[in-house]
């Protein structure tokens, strides 16, 4: 493996986490939006609670606009996309211009979606570009540890998100298995003890979601 700094390993990990966060929250938003059309106007309230997001929104329309597109709302999907961009833009030489371009395209697509009369169709282009970014990262980045750092970030984020949404344990167990397979290949520093704990938690019949979130957040990085 070529030389890589601790800052850049951190950026690759967070690039994985934020791209996953954007991708998954768009998918979740699409489902909630559908329900808000003619079933439950207040669907977003439960969503904010599940995500630990303060409900600062005045209505479903306000939520749909600000949660998706406001850069002043630090919890918005766009803010998270910009965090992915901020991490990606400084590691061009690690991931390559072609791979990086899909994050840039996702940002342009988000800007377009924000002014579109059909934001859901616009957001689809954002997820298309993120999916292309992941595919390109897998295909074009030679260094397997770099690919795996992004993947570890993705899987940690996914477990975190699924736990917040109280998804079925089998679904979370599957992601935990994939994480265990990847993390050593990433050559990142992580806590084996915490990984063992995560694996123990996901096997329990009654999944302790809160404890799992706490644990997975401590697996790598500063909070290890």
């Amino acid at each position: 493996m070529g030389i890589i700094s601790v800052e850049n390993t951190d950026r690759l990990y967070w690039l994985g986490r934020y791209t996953e966060r954007v991708y998954s929250t768009i998918k979740i938003f699409e489902a909630r939006f559908d329900s808000m059309i003619d079933v439950d106007d207040e669907e977003y309230v439960a969503f904010c609670e599940s995500q630990d997001i303060p409900n600062v929104y005045k209505s479903k329309e306000d939520f749909s606009r600000r949660y998706c597109f406001s850069l002043e709302d630090e919890n918005s999907i766009f803010s998270n996309l910009m965090r992915a961009y901020d991490n990606a833009i400084v590691i061009r030489e690690e991931i390559g211009s072609d791979t990086l371009s899909y994050i840039q395209l996702a940002v342009y697509a988000m800007n377009q979606a924000a002014i579109s009369k059909a934001p859901l169709i616009g957001l689809q282009k954002v997820t298309d570009n993120i999916a292309a970014f992941w595919g390109m990262a897998d295909d074009a980045i030679d260094e397997s540890s770099i690919r795996n750092m992004i993947r570890v970030g993705k899987l940690v984020e996914r477990i975190d998100l699924y736990a917040r949404l109280k998804e079925p344990s089998e679904k979370i167990r599957r992601e935990a298995r994939r994480l265990a397979n990847r993390i050593d290949k990433s050559t990142m520093r992580y806590s084996p003890k915490t990984l063992a704990h995560v694996n123990y938690l996901v096997q329990l019949d009654e999944l302790p979601y809160e404890t799992l979130i706490e644990s997975v957040e401590k697996l790598v990085g500063d909070r290890m």
């Binding site: 800052e7 400084v90 840039q104």
Partner: protein, 452 residues
């Protein structure tokens, strides 16, 4: 002199160019790859796309051969000048350059006295700005020997243009400019004293950050920030993710002298590397370009470059300076006062198109005030004849519009000087302006050098 109409044919030039735009929208592609530059407006950082005009500047092989010869001569003399100034100072002792122009300029660094960098190269990458007059004559406008930027833009524009409009390039015999990364790598490797080669960036909020990261990717050098490098036991090391230290032998630093080393220059710098200058002095790392080069690209020193060429090389300068006057000399001061309206005045301490005023654009009151300032600080300004630039067409909304443009040529120094067979052509988007700098809203073109 060659025009793009010679390449595309007079009758279908616009149609062909529009086809080129329609074929893939090059600007959209440049946006995709994040081809941007940063500017600060009202203390806020903004990233802007650098507008690209698809009509290239075309230079034929013979004309470029002449430029190449002149550029090599000029950069060779400038390197000898820097070596002399931080060494024997023969040119000052022999009365060719007055010492005020050396020591009073902000580019001179006393810390560099007596230092000879690896392989004796000071200006590894030189950006020489030229304009072509309506008479076809090329004039040097400025030498940039500190951290000249801009090569990445025509490099990536060429890559994208070839994809967007392949037919346009077929059978045209254009020198491939995508070899800039190889030339740069060769330049860096030539002076590397052992270890990795890195590109040191002040960070993503620097105006040229795109270029830093793109050149790192294309040369295979590591893009680093100051916090990732450390001086220990008289050597420079990169600290990797596991805490392991890897030796670094060459640093292409995109940080100005002032911020390079807080122990030797600006103490408040947080982007530099403490003691890097000490180990550079000992020959344990190559710094590209060498600190202290500003002594040779000061606007005041520019006047003396033709004299340097004769002095060091015993040759007549191949390329001409724009006719320049130094109000420092009594005779020139008199000329400047008498021909004020015909001249452009430049503050020697400014760059990027700032500190440039045209005599004929001032009110009577402004003129009087400026003349007083000139008398009080004659060393601060140079005056130049306004060159009647050759306009170059740009394509805007289906129309061909003439605009002022310059050319930044790049000369890289390894075993010998190498002139990149391309360059950054910058143009003014404002029809009434001569100022082409990107920071002032200018755009850019690719520069095609024909191989036959």
């Amino acid at each position: 002199m060659i025009s793009y109409t010679d390449i595309f044919g007079k009758n279908k030039r616009v149609e062909e160019m529009e086809l080129y735009v329609g074929a893939g929208d090059v600007n959209e592609q440049l946006a995709r790859y994040g081809v941007k530059f940063g500017i600060y407006k009202n203390n806020e950082f903004k990233e802007q796309l650098f507008p690209f005009d698809m009509i290239p500047r075309v230079i034929d092989s013979k004309e470029f051969g002449y430029l190449e010869k002149g550029l090599k001569q000029r950069v060779t003399a400038l390197n000898l000048f820097i070596e002399d100034i931080y060494g024997e100072k023969r040119i000052v002792k022999d009365g060719i350059v007055p010492e005020e122009f050396i020591y009073a300029g902000s580019g001179y660094l006393s810390q560099c006295e007596g230092i000879r960098p690896p392989k004796g190269i000071y200006s590894h990458i030189s950006g020489i700005d030229l304009v072509q007059g309506k008479d076809g004559e090329w004039y040097i406008l400025e030498d940039n020997l500190r951290i000249p930027s801009g090569a990445s833009y025509p490099m990536i524009a060429r890559e994208i243009s070839r994809r967007s409009a392949p037919d346009l390039f077929t059978g045209k015999h254009i020198e491939d400019n995508r070899n800039y990364a190889q030339l740069l790598r060769k330049t860096m490797d030539h002076v590397n004293v052992g270890g990795h080669t890195v590109i040191l960036t002040p960070g993503r909020y620097n105006a040229a950050y795109f270029e830093h990261s793109y050149l790192a990717e294309k040369t295979g050098a590591h893009l680093v920030s100051g916090s990732e490098l450390i001086v220990e036991n008289d050597h420079l090391y990169f600290i990797d993710y596991s805490g392991r230290k890897e030796r670094v032998g060459a640093v292409y630093r995109r940080i100005s002298d002032e911020y390079l080393d807080p122990m030797n220059f600006n103490r408040e710098s947080v982007i530099g590397i403490p003691h890097i200058f000490d180990i550079y002095r000992k020959g344990n790392v190559a710094l590209i370009n060498a600190p202290g080069n500003g002594v040779a690209d000061d606007k005041g020193i520019y006047y003396f470059v033709p004299k340097m060429i004769s002095y060091y090389l015993g040759e007549e300068p191949i390329l001409s300076n724009a006719p320049t006057y130094l109000p420092y000399y009594e005779e020139d001061m008199k000329y400047v006062m008498e021909h004020f309206d015909d001249l452009v005045l430049k503050d020697v301490a400014e760059a990027g198109g700032y500190g440039v005023v045209f005599g004929n654009k001032m009110t009577a009151e402004e003129k009087a005030k400026f003349k007083e300032m000139l008398k009080a600080e004659p060393r601060r300004f140079i005056a130049q004849e306004i060159i009647d630039f050759l306009d170059i067409d740009i394509l805007e909304k289906g129309e061909l519009l003439p605009r002022k443009a310059d050319l930044r040529a790049f000369v890289l120094m390894a075993e010998e000087p190498m002139v990149w067979k391309s360059g950054l052509t910058r143009f003014s988007r404002n029809p009434d302006s001569f100022i082409v700098n990107s920071s002032q809203g200018g755009g850019f073109k690719d520069t095609w050098v024909l191989s036959q």
